[in-house]
Structure formats: C-alpha cells, structure tokens
Amino acid sequence: MSTVLTQGIINVTSDCRACDHCTSICPTGAISGLLGQRHKIDHNLCINCGQCLINCPFGRIEDASMVDLVKKALADPSKFVIVQEAPAVRVALGEEFGLEPGTNVKNKMYAALRRLGFKKVYDTEFTADLTIMEEGTELIGRVYGALGVKGYENKGPLPQFTSCCPAWIKYAEDKYPKIIPYLSTAKSPQQMFGAISKTYLPTKLNVNPANIYSVSVMPCTAKKAECNRPEFISSGYQDVDAVITTRELAALIKEKGIDFNKLPAEEADKFIGASTGAATIFGVSGGVMEAALRTAYEILSGSTLDEVDLKAVRGLQSVREASVEIPVKALGKALPVNVAIVTGTKHVDKLIEDVLAGRSKYHFIEVMNCPGGCINGGGQPIRREMH
C-alpha cells in the first residue's frame, strides 16, 4: 500500500523545468539534478518542509494530498469528523479569497469549516497552550536538574530544543541522532490535539473514539508526515487521521461554492476551543520561545510577567539570541536564562555542534524550519513574489 510515508510527501512532477532553483532552497540537500536535468527528491533526506514547493518558479513540485480521505470521511455518516486549525492558518487563508496578507479570518474560517460538514470545529491554539506549558515546565525541570536540585536529576540535559516543528525533528533524527535527548519530549500542538481528541474529548461528547475522524488544517506539509508517524497512537487509534494545508482548505471551500467573504463570524466549539494569546504567536519564529519563557517566568518567580521586553527573540534574522533574568522564588536568586532562536534548519548545525561538544551557552533553543516560522510554511498560499 502506498502511503505518504512510502511515497514521500513532497515530489517533483514529471514536467520539472530543471531550473535548479530548488536545490538551493532545500535545507538538507535532498533534491538532486543538474541544471537542465529533471530533479528528484530523496525521501530519506527530505524533511517534508515544502519550501521547495512554494519556491518553485513553475509550480512543478507538489505535496501528497489527503483531501480525498477527508472528503470520504465527511461523506460517511458513521464518522464523527472534527477539525483543528493551526494559528498560522487564520492569517493566511484570507489571501486565497482576495484579502490582505495577515488578515485574521478565524471566525469566517470556523464558519466555513462547519459548512464543509465538520461536526465540531476546534482550534489548535488550545493545544499550543498545552505545548507551551509542557515545554516551559520541562525546561524548569532541566534547569533544576542542572543546578542539582533534588528530584530533578533525570529531567534531561540542557539546552532544551523545541519539538513542535516536524521538519526540524526529522532533520535532528536523521542528521544528529545524538541530539535527541536534548529535544523537548512535548508533542507538537497538532499531535497533542490528536491525542486528546480521541481520549478526553470522546468522554465529554459521549462519542465512540473509534468513530472520531480527526482532521487538522496546517500551514505545513511536514505535518502530513508527522500525523503518520507510527508512535502517534496514544488513543489506540491514529491520533490525527488526516492533515490538509491552508491551500487545500481554501480549495475545498471554493469547490463547495462557499462565498467565504460573506460568511458570518462564528466561534470555535468549546471544551478544547479556548486559548490564550501565547498560543496565537506560536506560528511565528520566536513565538514558542517567548510564550515558553513567559510561562517559565511565571512558574519560577510566582509573579506575572508584565513589562519584560522579549522583543530580542522576535525578528527575521536566522539566528537570534537573548538572555532573560528569571527570579527563582524557590532558590531565592535570579537565574540568567540564555536562549537562541533559529529560523531555517540549515542554520542550526553550528549550534548543535556546540551543544554536542559541550560548549553551548544556551539553556533553551527554538528551531523552526521555515523562514519566519509556520506563517511561511510549505502549506501556505503561494505568493512567489514574496519569496
């Protein structure tokens, strides 16, 4: 049986124009072919980020589609089809309907998803919050462990790397398996949602988890591979059944004849529809770091972070760093926490080599494969003039 795991997510079509632009975009050198020669992708090396796809001048690179699976599930009355959408989707979806880039269309998006037939429309922001809390507390554990605080000896080494970008995770696993203990053990928001959608949610909705079909709308093509990883079966079923991209959602809305711009503003369904502002910034490079630092600050200091400037972790430079003094109530002193943010996996090598050589000064490193973060993911609307 061919699946996204056997066939690969990203493929060059047979009418490749052989311009060779993509080979410089690929962070792992997975694309081979000389100028003038049809290019090929080595799926063992490919991290499924889709950057080649959105940068191909001729649209000759495609991602594997799960849209037919979603349509089939929506048409099946025995399925209880639910959907989650990542934070970066809502600010890009409008582009496909003539709106300015960055327009937040989340309320229309919820309405559109209901009209497509999804029984419950949730939001990944809820589990983005969970990821932040998980990564934040995990970081505290590792810091305590490094300081020799009893009970935290086996929490893992420092620095802690973020784990929510599936392209970065595959890169780390493929190229630097020794770095795996440094990766946060937290699942990505998509997979946390998948797990609770088939464990916690069925108990609240009184639905058989076997009948739940969990769909996620992502700005990312690598999420398609992530949902198919064999370990993501916390519920006893595949946690996330299908992933569609922002582009594919827009195509579904158009295909159904929904006038997107005239849709009423609706809200996400509750139970797991609530979220904080921390989740919203998740899709931008530096966002996970900023949210996790704020969480760690609050837990460690016992006070809310009001006016601390974390702008150093934002921006578009490939590697950014910041140092934040966090007063630790339990220790009665302030700890400097050194953080780094990497946008673009190809820029992470030196940091990893420093970590493995024991000379890294950082405590927490955020890595996102796509330039600027998930907002420029491989599943977002294609605007070649912007790349």
């Binding site: 009418d15 124009r17 052989a18 311009c19 060779d20 632009h21 080979t23 410089s24 000389l34 100028l35 003038g36 020669q37 049809r38 940068n55 191909c56 001048p57 001729f58 070649r384 003039e385 790349h387």
Partner: protein, 219 residues
C-alpha cells in the same frame, strides 16, 4: 540582357565569420532549448543527455554573446554603418513593405522600390534579431548564474521571456533562411553571406539599387 557585369563584395570576412559563428551557436541553442522545454529525449540524447545538453546550451550561449560582442569591438565602424543603414527607413522602404518586396505571390509588382544594402524586410529583421539577442542574453545569464539567488517569481519571468523570445527568433530565422537560401528570387544572397562574400553586380543593381548607386558613385 543586362550590361552590368562582375561581382561586388557585400559581406567582409569578419562579418561572414561572425554570421557563421552566430548561426551555429543559435542552431545548437535552439535545438537544446526546444529539447528542454518539451522534454524531447531524442534531442537531449543527441547531446549526451539533458545535463550535458544544458552544459552545451550554456556555453553555446557564451559563444552567442561573445561572438557578436567581439565583432562589434573589432569592426565598430562597420557595425555603426550597419546600424545606420537599418535605422534609416525611407519612403522607398515603406513602399517596399507595402508590396512585401514582391516576394508574396498574390501581390503583383512590376518593380520593387529601390533599396539600400539591406531591404526594408532585412532592416526590420536586423532590429528584431538585435533586440531578441539582447533579451535572450539578459535573461539567459541570470537563469544560469543567479538561479539560486534570484526570487522565484523573477526567475520564472526570465524563463518566460527567454522562451517566447527564442520562439519568435526561431520563426524569424526560419523565414530569413527561406528567403536567403531557398526562395528563387533571393537565394543568390546565400553564397554571398555563407561563402565568399561576393554577389553579382547585376543582382545588387536590381535588389539593392540605392546601395549599388552609392558604390558606383564611390568608384
């Protein structure tokens, strides 16, 4: 029977050499380019596969650029005269265009209006070839040398311009070849440009009367 005898030199050695070099480079570029665009294995294989065909295409592109550039540098006066000639559109040129120089069977013409060294059609072709070459060169080198750093949209734009300009030029050169080498009224031009540079004085007096008159006057 005409009383005009002998031959006149129409194209000098360097001009003919440049024309040959450009013709060979253009033929290679056209063949390999068509092979890439339509993914034609037979043509690609003639050049040793698409990667090699691409390499040959790029270096033929260098010859296509450097050949005329060297010619212009070494023969600047001659090139200036050429530009001057093809820029000068006289009343007779427009009249010649009206009757298409008598080359079109259903436009009956007793005598085409007198022409310069190049007729009105050749003048237009000259400008189209010059502009076409400039466009092809200006898009071709970025496609090769800056393919990794150019924005995708601009690279795609270069490919489109390169392709459509090449297509138009292939058609133009095809027409040029037909008139210069096959058409019974004008195929005598072929040996002049491709072989010794000379053309029968009688033919010049008939096809390029204004130029022939200038030659006689200078004589």
């Amino acid at each position: 029977m005409s009383n005009i005898k002998g031959k006149v030199l129409k194209h000098g050695t360097q001009t003919r050499t440049m024309h040959w070099v450009h013709l060979i480079a253009f033929t290679i570029l056209g063949l390999t380019g068509i092979a890439f665009y339509w993914n034609i294995d037979i043509i690609g294989n003639i050049f040793g596969g698409f990667a090699n065909a691409s390499l040959i295409h790029r270096w033929a592109g260098v010859v296509f650029t450097v050949g005329p550039a060297l010619y212009i540098l070494l023969n600047f006066d001659r090139f200036s005269r050429f530009i001057d000639t093809i820029s000068n559109f006289s009343k007779e040129d427009f009249q010649w265009l009206k009757v298409m120089g008598g080359y079109i069977p259903f436009i009956k013409v007793d005598e085409a209006p007198p022409q310069d060294k190049y007729n009105a059609g050749q003048k237009m072709l000259g400008w189209m070839i010059i502009f076409g070459c400039i466009l092809i060169i200006l898009t071709g080198f970025p496609m090769w040398l800056w393919r990794h750093s150019l924005p995708a949209a601009f690279l795609g734009f270069c490919y489109d311009i390169h392709f459509w300009t090449a297509m138009i030029m292939i058609l133009l050169v095809g027409g040029h070849f037909f008139l210069a080498a096959i058409h019974p009224k004008s195929r005598v031009e072929f040996s002049s440009m491709m072989l010794d540079g000379y053309i029968d004085a009688e033919i010049s007096a008939h096809h390029n009367a204004k130029w022939f008159a200038e030659l006689k006057e200078a004589d």
